[in-house]
Symmetry: D2
Subunit: 308 residues, 4 copies
């Protein structure tokens, strides 16, 4: 498939621009070959002021100069600031994201991670037992107190276990005879907040419908085609998922930059005494898991002609 890059930059907006996901969108969109940040939405408290003056910027590196000069608007498409905007990236909190996003008729597709997808497609998931160790940036800023995280683990992330159990089934859904079917495996998730800045680590035990050895599972991971391969998307990683053969990997500090944060790393695939296999899985929560995933989806929509 051959695709011609857009002739002119496509105007995009970021909602929730002062929050941590919003900041990550702005950082990742800096210098993007197709997209130009043309408008920023935030709370009424920030509206009417320059982004430089209202944003408590927490990313490494400075605020992109042109974006910093943008006057922030309220999050409503009635504001003239959003005229000509084709794509809206939303970093809004889940609590009030829905109605605002509906209003904007956002073209952004759902955000997801697919590391277990190579295994599911080849062997079929029967049962998944997962314990997560999730980064503090997942809670937004300011999020957790430093007094809660220093020398500590918090074994509860409100609503996260139920969300993971539900969303995983959606990610592996398929369309059969024109009808949409959720995947039908059993899943149990136990979620913990640990003292890591970026990147979620998951310890996973799997029962498969079709038995497979650790070697066969590793082969399935290594041979999994990038779903966006060959599409010429600016943000697409070379690999959606890679296997690291070192016995002590993946590790957050060493693997969070793989594929510029767009690639999931899997390691330690080995037999399990209870199910078929155990493994460790790692992905960057605010890139592949949030802002970056959305940008990649937006690029895909451009390629598929959904946004022009």
């Amino acid at each position: 498939m051959k695709f011609d890059a857009p002739a002119a930059p496509i105007k995009v907006a970021v909602l929730g621009a002062t929050g941590s996901v919003g900041q990550r969108f702005i950082q990742l969109l800096d210098g993007h070959p197709w997209f130009e940040v043309a408008a920023l939405g935030a709370s009424p408290r920030s509206a009417g002021k320059k982004y430089f003056d209202v944003c408590q910027w927490k990313q490494s590196g400075p605020i992109p100069k042109a974006t910093g000069e943008i006057v922030v608007s309220e999050c409503t498409p009635k504001s003239s600031a959003f005229d000509g905007v084709k794509i809206v990236f939303s970093g809004l909190d889940a609590d009030y994201a829905g109605s605002i996003e509906d209003e904007f008729a956002s073209h952004g597709c759902a955000v997801f991670s697919n590391a277990l997808k190579p295994i599911h497609e080849k062997f079929g998931l029967d049962t998944v037992m997962v314990t997560t160790m999730q980064a503090i940036s997942g809670a937004g800023y300011p999020g957790l107190s430093s007094m809660d995280m220093l020398d500590n683990i918090v074994p509860l992330i409100g609503g996260e276990e139920a969300k993971m159990e539900t969303e995983s089934k959606k990610v592996f859904a398929s369309v059969v005879d024109g009808a949409f079917h959720y995947a039908d495996f059993d899943i149990s998730a136990m979620c913990n907040r640990v003292h890591v800045l970026d990147g979620h680590t998951e310890c996973v035990s799997l029962k498969l419908k079709k038995k497979a050895t650790p070697g066969e599972i590793i082969d399935a991971i290594n041979s999994y085609p990038s779903i966006t391969k060959g599409l010429g998307l600016p943000s697409a990683p070379t690999h959606d998922v890679v296997y690291n053969t070192s016995p002590d990997r993946p590790q957050p500090r060493l693997d969070r930059s793989v594929g510029d944060g767009y690639t999931v790393t899997v390691g330690r695939v080995r037999e399990c005494n209870v199910f078929d296999a155990r493994l460790v899985l790692f992905g960057h929560n605010t890139i592949v898991g949030a802002a970056g995933g959305s940008i990649l989806n937006a690029e895909l929509c451009v390629v598929e002609g959904l946004v022009k």
Copy 2:
């Protein structure tokens, strides 16, 4: 049962006295009503010098004065320093502990944690799936580099998974018709090193032989008798295991001092989509899990007349 405390202090020795478990023994034995540290064993490099001068002390609080003045000996019962010693506490590395300990004919019993024991005794364990988040002090000193732990997780602890899977079955062993039987449940352990100083956290999913609701499991924990209750042991905790009803507990920094480190804390017992129940379990690794457990066992041996 009524027990009279020893008339005179019982002389004890600590082997591996300069290491981190050895230091913890010395700290916990400071001021003990029955035991008096009379000898210290360490490597030939330290032998012949005062403990004050050879030990890189890493505990909070200073070295107990009388112990600091002891001249360190090599780890062999042939040294006259060990004359009159009744109990030997060993903080030796597993690599060469066996032969030295055999030589001393140590009376110290095996060290273990028993949090899951209330559940096993009442409902019977069928399958255990556990992911651990273990403290850096478990690796001894100097152990892991600060460059490996800051902002990171290491998803491998060499040999730990196999050890946990084997030892757990020993802990729940029983004697039937005069013969010793290991417990027969299936267990799979995935072990991680996290950035916490003291205390191991475990996320556990359980399948039981006799079905039980979360409420029944919590009742079993709350009503579990302290195995050392009423024996008058100086180091015995009021509870071997307690249940914390807060949804975000146990946490290492807040729960590692419960029962002065001798009590295991359980929290978040709830249903599991795959097995019968899930829970979080926490214990202090160098107290209940190592030095402290050994001292408690030694006290028990004194009460039972095994050491006089």
Copy 3:
């Protein structure tokens, strides 16, 4: 001086009881031989409910049982809950502490640390240059975000430098011919927030009025009498300040428990290329520097007959 302990417990109250200094007061007062926590003051939001139900307890160890059952009151002496209360410990924020404390006519004296006092009394301070590395607990709970502190230093603590410069002169004030005189040395403070839970570390360079060698300064520290020595105060440390001869001390994790947190540790006294001497000084910020210092002052007031 001989002092008889109070015949009956003295009733005390803690204001700001749900905050981090308030919690530390409650922890330190647990089991106190003279003082009994009889009332707790907090915001109107918490008033009327049991302390157990409104407090997000962040100390190691549980809430003292009797204190947890107390129904919290608003912070006004008009509330009957404060009837019979002789001493009020205030953990209120500085912003509104003044007027409330005035209302209660608190008997609590000023809180201070006095490590440099042995040197000042003997040699006279001429100039003090100090850079601090202060613990996150000094900012209260929740205080700083974990995202700001992990792998980071914040080189600003609002208002702290001016406060240190002013308060230090008050601490060394003296009464001459019936008039109160501030100490007259020059002082410059640079304050940083670092990733340490409890305890402030200070790197200090000193110019003295009367020249002294490092050895003479160390002697002055070692021979400094405890100001509360011999008074029989339950919380008084054996030493107000100790000198640690190890070249890599004091360290927060190892020295914050010295004297149960009531003793300041000094180390590394050595010559300075610019002034006369350099040293490192460490004290527990929420014990000697706040809650504990107040309790010690209250005990002193009891001994001196100011509270009966």
Copy 4:
């Protein structure tokens, strides 16, 4: 000045290639337009094996593929592996670096940081009092134990204070009438190891020969020309030093990537009660302070015709 880039890649070698500074050299040289890593020197233990197989790589991102395939040599120019090598980057430990580097007749110039240089050139330094908070990566790998750094500060870095006091005077040296003169200011340094991965923070108080207001000092920093400006060096930053106007900056996590780690950040210039001014200074220790500084110097030597 106009300079033509080298026609063919210049072959370079890295000594101490498996250590942390050596790894940083390899990471920074990956994709360099002029330099090609052609040989790697390490200890006899690693010699004869592929770099992939002997290096415990601790940088984010993988080992550059071509470099990983290089067979490591012993650190002696007699090895044929070093034939054709023009530039040697040395990450050797100071203990034995001298004789080996002499043997190689290294062309690498001295490594230094020059943030205070704008102020010295304009106003003249009279006295410098500095307290440092230095990153753990400065100690190499494995360096400090995680048990020493978690929730802690180590107020001693062996030999560092004397080294800083001596080297600072060399950095500001000048050549007058053909003779080399060290700068003549007084300097006192107090050095601490803190829990930060990369980047050293310094709190500095300055006495100047020619009085200057904070505003004049900030102007001197902002108008300081890049010493490598206009030379077309691939690694040269746009600014050697920048001033950050935020009152809570510089911060390690937010400022270590400024100028890709080649730029020093200064903040909080303000009056001092004792000297003329106070400020906070931050630089990346393994980039501008070590590996990166050496590469920049090597590029300068190429431009000046010292290496061909």
